[in-house]
């Protein structure tokens, strides 16, 4: 028996997608004889996740993130490879497995629109066979963290997107799952809404020791929550490791920021590529390879009338962006 929460080995998924050319003739032909094309959504991906870890699962659209999450939650059968979550093979959909995990998808609704969330919660209580005292305890905890109470009595359709997402997440957690698969849990939310969900997830993970695998398009989610990230692209695993090591491994660059004491007309192209930074208009930034930082800095100091100088790691967003594009 292994100790990790999630164990994935050589997991692959190939879809058969009907294919046809545009135009009327092609449409008629394809009605009688379909041509199919194989799409390799996920190709031989392997990783393992320890209990209590929060791991960011990243990749551009169509990289295979959702497909992987669906296989791990049990919705999809893989075409190859193995997966084991909490000792279960997910796609066997054993009730004991379903009771110990949850899948929350930011773009799909679990709650019924026409009734207040409170009623859907009670239905969930019945579905997961939660004893009253246990259910009340969990609800109280979730309410404390998410301030659910004022939202519970209104029909879900009258809630704002942020409010609804809070309820959706809470609904997915009533049975105290040990593993959480979160697919874009903050999608469409404003900055404060995102921050609240993020804060909640961190606190939930701290309190319950739940394992969380999360995808998001907002890098802030990832940098705030995850120490470890897994990047996939075109179905292949590109990176698996610490978020802080990523910049060293993928993009070993530093940003040198300088403020000049004179008018800003100097040409900096001889030192490195200049980067735009809207937040700090007074400074100019150049991207320099890590092993050249000392040399370039001393040249800058010697050549230019420098008022202030800083050396920093590039923002993680940029690094991940670069990782995708490689």
């Amino acid at each position: 028996m292994s100790t990790e929460s999630i164990f994935v080995e050589q997991l692959s998924k190939t879809y058969k997608v009907p294919e046809r050319e545009g135009g009327f003739g092609a449409a008629v032909r394809s009605f009688f004889k379909r041509k199919y094309k194989d799409v390799n959504a996920v190709q031989k991906v392997s990783f393992r996740i320890e209990p209590g870890e929060i791991v960011g699962f990243l990749g551009p659209n169509g990289a295979g993130k959702t497909t992987t999450l669906k296989m791990l939650s049990g919705l999809l059968h893989p075409t190859g490879g193995k997966a084991n979550v909490l000792g279960f093979t997910p796609w066997e959909l054993k009730p004991d497995y379903l009771r110990s995990m949850t899948l929350v998808m930011g773009q799909r609704n679990r709650l019924s629109w026409d009734i207040p969330a409170a009623d859907s919660f009670l239905l969930n209580q019945a579905i997961y066979r939660l004893p009253d005292n246990e259910y009340k305890k969990t609800y109280k905890e979730l309410d404390e963290l998410l301030e659910l109470e004022p939202l519970m009595k209104k029909p879900v359709r009258n809630l704002s997107l942020g409010e609804r997402m809070k309820c959706e997440i809470a609904a997915g957690l009533l049975h105290r799952p040990k593993v959480l698969f979160l697919d874009e849990p903050t999608i469409g939310l404003d900055i404060t809404g995102q921050a609240r969900i993020r804060e909640f997830l961190r606190e939930y993970n701290r309190r319950t020791g739940a394992t969380i695998l999360l995808t998001s398009h907002y890098m802030a989610d990832v940098t705030a929550l995850c120490e470890r990230i897994i990047i996939i692209h075109h179905g292949n695993l590109k990176y698996d490791g610490g978020i802080n090591d990523l910049s060293r491994r993928i993009a070993p660059f530093k940003l040198i920021g300088i403020r000049l004491s004179e008018a800003d007309s100097h040409d900096l192209s001889g030192y490195g590529s200049e980067v735009q930074n809207e937040e700090d208009a007074e400074k100019r930034y150049i991207r320099v390879r890590a092993d050249e930082v000392t040399r370039v800095t001393s040249r800058l100091l010697a050549d230019l009338p420098i008022h202030d100088i800083t050396i920093a790691d590039p923002p993680i967003e940029d690094v991940i962006e670069r990782a995708f594009n490689e």
Binding site: Y15, K16, A41, T66, T67, K70, S73, G74, L75, L76, H77, W91, L93, P95, D96, L98, R99, T102, L103, M105, Q107, R108, N109, R110, S112, D114, I115, D119, S120, L122, L123, A126, I127, Y128, R129, P155
Partner: protein, 261 residues
């Protein structure tokens, strides 16, 4: 036990939902009474021209109308609303959540929507059956009443199974929104006793499209003109069709998890 409790929960939920739409509920009940009047009018026109229809008198036909409406209630209270919900959940992907709940997905698909006010229909249907039988002067015994109930349940299961198979086809074809229109069309054939139809059609109606099982046959049992062996066969048909349906459903789920993205 767990499923009974779940059913109770779903029922409560649906009562709450229908209370939220008061006008809708009232209009529906009125509309329904109007339909009944229309159907009775149709019958009276038929019997102004002939004494019997396929060997069935006016009272028996009213009873048949009652059984037909019983089946219709099943359609309207469960099958229609849940089909709508099912088709939508396939389209918007919320089916994924249904499948990940630790409860039989066929059960959830069957009972997540219940049109509660249709209970009136049920009462109306039973009145029609009782009145019809009284008018016809047929003698009913406790045994024939029991067989009637058994066969009616078995017939309902046949229709239910047919429905499950039809909606499970959605797993293969993705867009199959008229799945239940087909079922309704088949069902409408059950409004008149099967003996009205020519033999070849009767065979289709009884065996290939087993709607008659749900309407004419239970009533024949109540009249006492059904042999015991045939009663057993029809009950067997109910069991077998349920078995087939749940297997088609399972295969559909497998297909869904193999192909969807």
């Amino acid at each position: 036990m767990h499923y009974l409790k779940l059913l109770q929960n779903l029922l409560k939920l649906n009562i709450q939902m229908s209370l939220a739409y008061r006008a809708d509920t009232v209009v529906n009940i009125l509309l329904n009474l109007m339909w009944l009047g229309w159907e009775l009018l149709g019958l009276s026109i038929i019997f102004n021209n002939t004494e019997t229809l396929g060997g069935w008198g006016p009272g028996e036909l009213i009873a048949l109308l009652g059984v037909f409406r019983l089946v219709n209630t099943l359609m309207a209270a469960l099958i229609w609303p849940n089909t709508e919900k099912f088709n939508q959940s396939i389209r918007d992907g919320s089916m994924d959540y249904t499948l990940l709940q630790p409860v039989n997905s066929m059960f959830l698909t069957t009972f997540s929507r219940i049109t509660v006010w249709r209970i009136w229909d049920l009462v109306l249907a039973i009145i029609l059956i009782v009145v019809g039988i009284n008018m016809s002067g047929d003698i009913t015994t406790p045994l024939s009443t029991l067989t009637f109930i058994l066969l009616a349940v078995s017939g309902a299961i046949v229709i239910y199974s047919l429905w499950i198979v039809l909606i499970a086809l959605t797993f293969w074809f993705t867009k199959f929104d008229n799945n239940v229109t087909i079922l309704q069309a088949l069902l409408d054939a059950g409004r008149y006793p099967v003996t009205v139809y020519p033999v070849w059609l009767r065979i289709i109606v009884t065996f290939i499209i087993p709607i008659a099982v749900a309407t004419t046959i239970p009533l024949q049992a109540l009249r006492g003109d059904l042999e015991i062996s045939r009663v057993l066969i029809f009950i067997g048909v109910g069991i077998v069709s349920f078995w087939i349906a749940s297997n088609v459903w399972k295969a559909g789920l497998k297909r869904y998890s193999g192909a969807s993205s």
